[in-house]
Symmetry: C2
Amino acid sequence: MPPSPSRVTQADVARHAGVSRTTVSFVLSGREDMRISIEARRRILGAAEELGYRPNLTAQSLRTRKTHTLGLVSDTVAGTPHAGGMIQGALEAALERDHLLYFAESGGDPAAERKLLQGMLDRQVDGLVHAAMSTGRRRPSEQMRSRPCVLLNCLDDSGEFTCVVPDEEEAGRQAVRLLLEAGHREGVHVVGGRHLTDGTPEGVYAGRERMRGVEAVMAQAGLRLGGVSECDWSAPEHGYAAVRGLLDSPRRPTAFVCCNDRLAFGVYQAACDSGLAVPRDLSVVSFDDSELASWLRPSLTSIALPHRELGRSAVSLLLSPEGPQPAVHRVPMPVRRRGSIAAPHR
Amino acid sequence: MPPSPSRVTQADVARHAGVSRTTVSFVLSGREDMRISIEARRRILGAAEELGYRPNLTAQSLRTRKTHTLGLVSDTVAGTPHAGGMIQGALEAALERDHLLYFAESGGDPAAERKLLQGMLDRQVDGLVHAAMSTGRRRPSEQMRSRPCVLLNCLDDSGEFTCVVPDEEEAGRQAVRLLLEAGHREGVHVVGGRHLTDGTPEGVYAGRERMRGVEAVMAQAGLRLGGVSECDWSAPEHGYAAVRGLLDSPRRPTAFVCCNDRLAFGVYQAACDSGLAVPRDLSVVSFDDSELASWLRPSLTSIALPHRELGRSAVSLLLSPEGPQPAVHRVPMPVRRRGSIAAPHR
DNA sequence: GTGAAAGCGCTAACAA
DNA sequence: TTGTTAGCGCTTTCAC
């Protein structure tokens, strides 16, 4: 009747060791409360070893209702170069607690997401993580409520979920502080801004938060921004277009706060075309710390998106003994000091 | 006794519909061989709907010995920006066949890999994929043999596994053909080569294969390479260092075949510093087609690593009705024509 | 100290 | 056409 060649079971081990299945179960699950004779334990362990016994976690789950398995569904993080770190972090934290991870992507389609979550739920996952490629507000599927869950790199409006997001506002503050420390006062220009585009008319979470931090520190120092070039963050060309003209003007900016490394790359390209050198003629500070930052010449000072740490935190929270509590956790964004900032000269 | 609030089961549905559990099972699993009265079917479906019945796949698996679940373990693909496409491809193919994917990374540590595979096996996965970040030969863990499996982006020496890899040699041929088509004959220089470094004294699979393709087409056209700069592929600076001197020489190359986009970026940087323009003064063709290729000015013609397709194929093969057969599948690498190639002028 | 027996939710012979 | 019954491999109560 068994449809396929079956593996060694506890029953086999019991037979081999000359004890009952119950005893085997106790010994193999390492329970101390039932006292088993040292001799029986030895025989059982020996038999298990010899037969190459491996527990069938599927059967175990059916009984215990714990699968030691988590589900992670994202819109599209695996496809986003650096966001993969979130998965790695989640994985690490899960493994440390002996859990495995189902991973899937919805591509942003709610119907697809529901189907994926359902698949995971049907497989009795112990918990769920909903991850987003870029930080923002999301409305998690109803199914998320049927199990412990946490929102990774996104916020919800209800306030009923555990959310883990980068501390963008503080990052904005840091960016400006780096420039002020180097002696910049006037001529500080922002590239990217809130990321106001047709697709994102209100801007984007990271943009709004970073700008808030940037403006707060400037105000606090009694200074004003030289200007803000609102533009699409998606590719270097937009950064290039935003600053190309500025660089040839007589009152050109001396420092740029770029909302991500791609825009900073565009600024570098524009600088090259204008015969200007970074950081001698203009300082640049950026966000994200993608590999691009270290590839650029000179290498780019950037404030990192703590992808890995976000992933770790999300799973740690999910698997914490008390379970995830409704709250927003903001993870610090580390500053990576490199070679793109110098004192203004002129 | 139930440790946690239990979900709706088939028994509940049966009670509600006034039939036996068997009948419910037949109806819900959509089997046609047992004829069920239209009326009973209606009542059962209605009850299931009303109660919000969802199958417990864990229980189902225990009986059927199929979990509709696959395991994918890689060395470190999620951390490698573009290799994430492999995961996406694998995911897509799995979903199309109603399978979910366990995903994990070993970080290249064999002990960690064994542990991960064991965890998946204990959870009764139906099949296994072993993925590698960069193409090459690997010795898969013994456990891989205990289930159907395929090697993704890597080859094994035994020849007993199904392997899916990019067709690097053909890509090498294509790269040179692009240059020849544009009119280049002499002055074609390779940057990167086999990737001979301290860590990779024999070079790297992609390097060897690409070079083979490059040299074959050159020979076939009765031409010789202007030169090959063997260097580390890991960052633009190596490409920069490799060509900086060449560009100022009187007999400077007029076309570069760069072994990846990062090296090509280094060549662009060097060109900028030498006051040379791409593609007017020098043509560049590259491999990988990372985002960098489209960010560069002018955008870079590159031969893409078909990550997604690799992932798709691997899982399709794994889930094919006959199961994976020992063989090496080479996936074509698509050419992305952009703006970095022009006729040589001089 | 150890074992018999029940049951997790589902499938599938077999009988009715 | 439908129901009875026996497991899948494991945990756990309760009795010996």
